[in-house]
Chain length 275, copies 2
């Protein structure tokens, strides 16, 4: 039989709470995945779940058991928490009784593999976990080849990134990189960079995204750093017709990504073989 941890001061509980802190995540190389959908996508993506914390009293349905069995069969240790201890660990208002502790996965640029005509999202120094998570979810929907997170202010293993991404963090090929390394990698792969900046003259829909393309979006507060705004990149802006001077950073990423998707779909539908 499993013993249930009920104390909120239990050492394991305290360790999980500490993992909300980036320094703890960086030092330990692990991170938390909360929620049924998020954990399912992590398992589907082949992540190593070391420990799975469960609180059956909080389960919403019956699917949880199969998922738990699957992670345990793959080597995860199952630990049961009482509702109070679970709520302490959870970073949600309404916890659903499932938190996994997983190994951070490798995120080097050299691990990315590209399609013949890649579409990439590059984001630099995003501050808000909700924005970074939404960007990953949107990038998945746009079927990008990869998301490159440059100079992370918020790291992708932040629990609120996992959450806002709905687990897309595990589905979208992801690299974390410095800005110079990312620029060099993009150049070496013959990918044109489209830098989103309000200073650009060209509306985003006038850029040609049909070839190998990387769309670069800067931080909420400062936008892209100067490095991205040089001659070798195409600068584009989303025309602002109202009083605000910018879109939310995740929104800007989505609007430009789906313009690229539109152009590429239109391109594909042109018959090229004369049939």
């Amino acid at each position: 039989m499993h013993e249930t941890i009920t104390s909120v001061t239990n050492a394991r509980v305290k360790r999980l709470v500490k993992l909300r802190n980036r320094r703890e995540r960086d030092a330990s190389g692990v991170f938390l995945i909360e929620g049924y959908r998020e954990l399912s996508r992590a398992v589907e993506a082949g992540l190593t779940i070391r420990e799975i914390y469960v609180c059956p009293d909080l389960f919403l349905g019956d699917n949880e058991h199969a998922l738990i069995e699957r992670t345990v069969a793959a080597g995860a240790e199952r630990i049961e928490l009482g509702p109070e201890a679970f709520r302490k660990v959870s970073y949600r208002d309404r916890p659903e009784g499932l938190v996994g502790l997983a190994d951070q996965f490798p995120t080097t640029l050299d691990r990315l593999s590209l399609s013949p005509n890649p579409l990439i999202l590059v984001v630099e120094s995003i501050e808000k976990p909700g924005n970074l998570g939404t960007m990953l979810r949107t990038a998945d929907a746009a079927a990008v080849d990869a998301v490159i997170v440059c100079e992370p202010t918020t790291d992708p293993f932040n629990p609120n990134v996992v959450r806002a991404s709905l687990g897309c963090l595990f589905l979208v090929p992801l690299a974390i990189s410095s800005t110079p390394d990312a620029m060099r990698w993009l150049e070496n792969h013959g990918i044109t960079t489209f830098a989103a900046t309000p200073a650009a003259m060209v509306p985003h829909w006038q850029a040609d995204f049909r070839g190998p393309a990387a769309i670069a979006i800067g931080s909420e507060q400062y936008g892209l750093t100067e490095a991205w705004l040089r001659e070798s990149t195409v600068q584009v802006r989303i025309p602002m017709g109202g009083r605000v001077d910018s879109l939310n950073a995740a929104m800007a990423a989505g609007v430009i990504l789906f313009e690229a998707v539109r152009q590429r779909a239109a391109n594909e539908s042109v018959p090229t073989d004369g049939v």
Copy 2:
């Protein structure tokens, strides 16, 4: 001299805290506007600010004084709060020392005035204040004629809507309505409704948004209600190329709105006078 309220149990402080609650807002007809940018936009839009609560210790810069003077000159009562009392009232992590209490403004459909070729955003039963606020900010950027909030789950006077909208709540013409009333109003004004639904066959970029158009987006969890998915509306979907089955609701609104903006800009750039 003004007296400073320092007690967190002061009656005024308690009243402001209660206004986070929708029932209190509905009953009193007032709401809170926090922050320099948000209050500035409210003043600019001609809202009636009844009371302005200030905590100079928390000011970020020197602009606050001119804004306070302007609201006081327009009839607002100025009340000074100590930092502790202000933090109690504030709904931000890092309060900036300014909260206004304003009259809710009228939001009936008949108050909307339309351009010859209107573009409208319709949102139904949005749950998350952050999404509704982002939709208002994005709608402003897309220069819509109006946003129609149908069957509100979250009301637009929620403090987090004010915040996420960056005050665009006061800049974008806004109506609150039932779904049947909104549909009738749109029909009466000869506006075609484009309902976003994953069940649609037509990618959003294949719809023609160049005429009078309303883009309708449903709730985060359930999407649009059946009423919107009838023959008289054009159903469109944003093609999903990845593993997730939908975009965030605000993102969906932005992607379709900016496709409409793109089509309309392209339309305008076609020379019509032979020059």
